[in-house]
């Protein structure tokens, strides 16, 4: 095997397949798997390298090869020779542009391993795809064009791989054929890269001089052109490198519960993928966040109960005791449970065209837990080209920053450095449902560990019962001048006559006190509503019927307040007044100022108003007087009697 000539497949065993298929299958069945990514800048030859790996492992069939030969002549960039890049550039758009614009996954086998390759794009604007590809990879191949050396993109990709926690880095110095296989070129690039790598915390990497186009040092090394090179070929290295995920098995047992399996009353199983450690029947386990303990009764699979299960296996556990456990809980080793917290320092990669809205509530998914979370103003943004820390107010597409994240419920977690499963999360926009960010927990914030919820004896129910009413938040939203304050005032007067205990929070008034530090930027508007929501929530805890009159232009923030409150307590009242009518009224003269440019960020003029999609109540102020509107609202929300008698 070691004597196999260059450019001939050294790792496909056609002979074995033909002679003893069962022996081959036995070998294939016991192969391990390595997932890796290839990244580099445009024209570094990623697609060509992957095409070459597929070609050498006979993963290209004759019909594909015939199509490839035709395509190569038509649109290829290699003259009459085969352009391997065309084989892997999948989507029509990118074939025309000649660039790879999305992550593509490819597969090939050698005698020892099966490989899944994520082909990651080199373009600056597609950082998000690279992070996506890197998140499941055990190893990264960073391609450098021998003629160009270490580029800005090389640094960026190395930084991202390191950030995502890839421990195995291969520096593939490609296109050696175009520098006459000159050792000094290779050595210089390796030295330059080594210095940079060290500066960002990459202490080990393997450098290999290759030509993806000609095939040097891909399957066997050294090629006749690089006799000065004494290291492994790329494939040798990929076949033998230790997969670091294997360390997961040495860690304490953790399994996020995906699904509770209840076929009948006699069986209750907890299904999940083991994130780390091992488990046996009889092992003591702890369910988090409740902290309740039990022991494992059985590990159930369709192939029969197991004596033991390991990290990476998908199983169903039954427990000896009937304890509460549902999706989102984590079953862990009883004596080494993970932590829980609701405030974290995180590193966030922003993946969406819509910037981070500081203070806005997003869905956060970590393992099988989904909670509502807000991101604070970033402490800093990382310039991925220079690794400098820059001041940042928000994060834009492809930007990376460090920021605190607060969740509405405690999360069972581990720092990302210890566990990808319990430390990595995504953020999802609550309105569009887009995945807007990927995040990694660095650590929980001490302050949340030391602040516990203080239970009080007089509950919110007793406060409400004493007032003989059901607390509500009547949330008036609408354009400036639509009539929110007027109608809210009228509703409060009428409720007062009905002996209801109320309080009206008015936008202008709150800005004189509680929120006088806030302006009218988007971030400040979000914070304004968050504070008002928190105050309204405290008032409902005190048993009050709260009326709020705020423009509250963004759906997401109104939803955030709704989510803070008990089911049914938030009544969204859309004061529906067309912009022309409100502008015509212009009670405070603000529209005039906004139109003349004296007033910036004015809702309806140069700042958007997102009308409610499913408001609980709509009042049309063109058709109704404020009194009629108020009567209509009260009629709709009655009865407000307390359901619990004191």
């Amino acid at each position: 095997m070691a004597d196999a000539p260059v450019n001939e497949s050294a790792y496909q065993t056609d002979a074995l397949i033909a002679e003893d298929i069962d022996a081959y299958l036995d070998q294939h069945q016991h192969k391990t798997m390595l997932r890796f990514i290839t990244c580099g800048s445009v024209d570094d030859g990623k697609s060509t390298l992957i095409g070459r790996l597929l070609y050498d492992s006979k993963m290209i069939f004759e019909d594909q090869l015939a199509a490839l030969e035709t395509d190569s002549k038509k649109v290829g960039t290699q003259g009459q020779e085969i352009d391997f890049a065309l084989l892997v550039d999948g989507l029509a758009a990118e074939r025309e542009q000649g660039i790879t614009i999305d992550v593509a996954y490819r597969f090939f086998n050698t005698e020892k391993r099966k490989f899944i390759v994520a082909d990651c794009p080199g373009h600056e604007q597609y950082t998000r795809n690279m992070v996506t590809g890197a998140s499941t990879a055990d190893l990264a191949v960073i391609l450098v064009d021998a003629r160009k050396g270490v580029l800005v993109q090389t640094r960026r990709h190395s930084y991202l791989c390191h950030l995502i926690g890839i421990k195995n880095i291969v520096l593939a110095v490609n296109k050696m054929d175009l520098v006459d296989y000159d050792q000094s070129v290779f050595d210089k690039i390796v030295a330059e890269y080594g210095e940079f790598a060290k500066s960002i915390g990459i202490n080990n990497f393997t450098a290999i001089p290759i030509s993806g186009f000609k095939g040097d040092n891909i399957t066997t090394a050294p090629s006749g052109n690089t006799i000065w090179y004494s290291g492994p070929s790329l494939v040798d290295h990929l076949e033998t490198v230790e997969v670091l995920g294997s360390h997961d098995a040495q860690k304490p047992f953790r399994m996020p519960v995906q699904w509770v399996n209840r076929p009948n009353l006699d069986f209750r199983g907890f299904s999940g993928l083991i994130a780390s450690g091992a488990i046996k029947p009889g092992d003591a386990v702890r369910v988090l966040p409740s902290g309740k303990t039990s022991t494992v009764k059985s590990i159930v699979t369709m192939d029969g109960d197991l004596d033991e299960a390991m990290a990476g296996q998908a199983i169903t556990l039954t427990l000896q005791d009937e304890i509460d456990c549902s999706r989102g809980n984590v079953i862990s080793a009883a004596d080494a449970p993970p932590q829980t917290a609701d405030q974290f320092e995180t590193t966030i990669v922003w993946l969406n065209d819509d910037d981070l809205h500081v203070g806005r509530a997003y869905w956060l998914k970590l393992g099988t837990q989904t909670v509502s979370a807000t991101v604070q103003q970033p402490k800093y943004e990382v310039d991925v080209n220079t690794m400098e820390h820059l001041a940042a107010k928000t994060l834009e597409l492809n930007q990376i920053g460090v920021a605190e994240v607060l969740t509405d419920k405690p999360l069972v977690f581990e720092p990302y450095a210890d566990s990808r499963t319990l430390g990595g999360f995504i953020l999802v926009d609550k309105i569009t449902n887009a995945t807007v960010a990927a995040g990694m927990i660095n650590f929980s914030l001490r302050r949340s560990q030391n602040i516990h919820w203080q239970p009080t004896d007089i509950t919110r129910e007793s406060h409400a019962a004493l007032k003989n009413q059901s607390p509500r938040v009547l949330w008036f939203t609408g354009l400036s001048g639509s009539g929110k304050s007027t109608i809210a005032n009228e509703v409060e007067k009428q409720l007062n006559l009905m002996n209801r205990h109320t309080f009206l929070l008015d936008g202008d008034n709150v800005r004189h006190g509680l929120n006088k530090d806030l302006g009218f930027t988007e971030a400040d508007r979000i914070e304004n509503i968050r504070r008002v929501g928190e105050v309204a929530k405290l008032m409902t805890d005190a048993g009050l019927i709260v009326l709020t009159a705020f423009i509250s232009p963004f759906r997401a923030e109104r939803q955030m307040v709704r989510d803070m409150l008990a089911e049914g307590e938030f009544i969204e009242i859309f004061v529906d007044t067309p912009l022309e009518v409100a502008e015509e009224r212009d009670v405070k003269g603000l529209y005039k100022k906004a139109r003349s440019g004296q007033l910036k960020n004015f809702t309806g003029i140069d700042s958007p108003y997102e009308a409610p999609e499913n408001p609980d109540i709509v009042v049309n102020t063109v058709a109704m007087t404020p009194q009629e509107a108020a009567e209509y609202i009260i009629k709709t929300i009655l009865p407000l009697k307390s359901r619990i008698q004191a």
């Binding site: 989507l91 992550v103 593509a104 899944i116 995920g245 199983g269 499963t421 990595g424 995945t435």
Partner: protein, 301 residues
């Protein structure tokens, strides 16, 4: 220790994890069941994922009425064995207009399969549909996410896919929108065959070589599976030892001449073959090199 898990074990665990995520997060999941070998593997994985419960979703067969007879037989048997509901949907308009692969060319696939699938998903209100597509099958598949988001009109926008990180899947969507989920995305054809062998999964006998009546059309060997096959004047079906690498509508699915009658032999032949699996399928050739990508944007699975 997880390094000791074989690649097949890792792929199985990944697929099971994906199926459980969908069941936990979607309102009305369904499994597309085409009776082929990939569907057989999918059904088997679903049974393992939820054991001892039956998989908590129905099977949906978008039928074209032109599948091989052997497929219909196995379909009904497998659904019953799994304890799952089997929904069979046939596009009524295609039925009424008598759309068939002989007279209508690409319209056959479009009406029965693409339109039929959309109609079926709309009719039952499924918001997540499992499919057995693999990334090694075809170039545009290689870039599709495992959770592939579709608009209310079933469109796929390859430039606007949700980033998919770690094994965290975002199953959130608005009313009317749906998700196609591909749990065996990372499997290769060899993996599928090997899994069938290891797990002893029943598959349609047409995958194994046997003497069958055939005719040759445009370089493709077609099997005369019933008397709806319009023979040319003077054309007589010839008995040949053939098998199929993929199964679809019998008039559109090319056979290969083969003597491989056991799983080992089939796998051996698959590995030594020099043409790709989808080569026997007419669908990829429509619309030039970008055939499948265009079809997917229109809502083909």
């Amino acid at each position: 220790m997880s390094s000791n898990l074989t690649h097949i074990q890792r792929l199985e665990a990944e697929a099971i994890h994906i199926m459980r995520e969908v069941v936990a997060e979607a309102e009305r999941p369904v499994m597309l069941y085409s009776v082929g070998k990939d569907s057989a593997v999918m059904l088997h994985l679903a049974r393992k994922a939820f054991y001892p419960s039956p998989p908590p979703f129905p099977l949906l067969h978008v039928d074209t009425t032109w599948k091989f007879r052997a497929m219909y037989e196995l379909r009904d048997k497998m659904a019953q064995e799994a304890g799952m509901d089997l929904l069979v949907y046939q596009n009524p308009e295609a039925q009424e207009r008598g759309i068939n692969p002989f007279d209508h060319g690409p319209l056959h696939t479009d009406m029965w399969k693409t339109e039929g699938l959309k109609q079926a998903l709309d009719k039952y209100g499924f918001d997540a549909a499992f499919g057995g597509a693999r990334r090694d099958e075809e170039k545009s598949r290689a870039k599709e996410r495992i959770f592939s988001f579709r608009t209310a009109s079933h469109g796929w926008d390859p430039k606007n896919q949700r980033p998919e990180l770690w094994n965290l899947y975002n199953a959130r969507k608005n009313r009317g929108e749906s998700i196609r989920v591909f749990p065996i995305s990372n499997w290769t054809e060899l993996d599928v065959w090997q899994y069938i062998q290891l797990e002893k999964i029943p598959i349609v006998p047409l995958y194994f070589a046997a003497k069958r009546p055939t005719v040759e059309r445009d370089g493709m060997l077609l099997m005369v599976d019933d008397d709806r096959f319009p023979l040319e004047p003077g054309e007589v079906p010839v008995e040949r030892s053939i098998r199929f690498r993929t199964l679809g509508c019998y008039p559109l699915t090319g056979a290969v001449e083969s003597e491989a009658a056991t799983l080992s032999e089939v796998i051996q032949e698959t590995l030594l073959t020099t043409t790709s699996e989808r080569q026997g399928r007419a669908i990829d050739k429509d619309a030039g090199g970008a055939g499948m990508e265009v079809k997917k944007q229109q809502g083909y699975f």
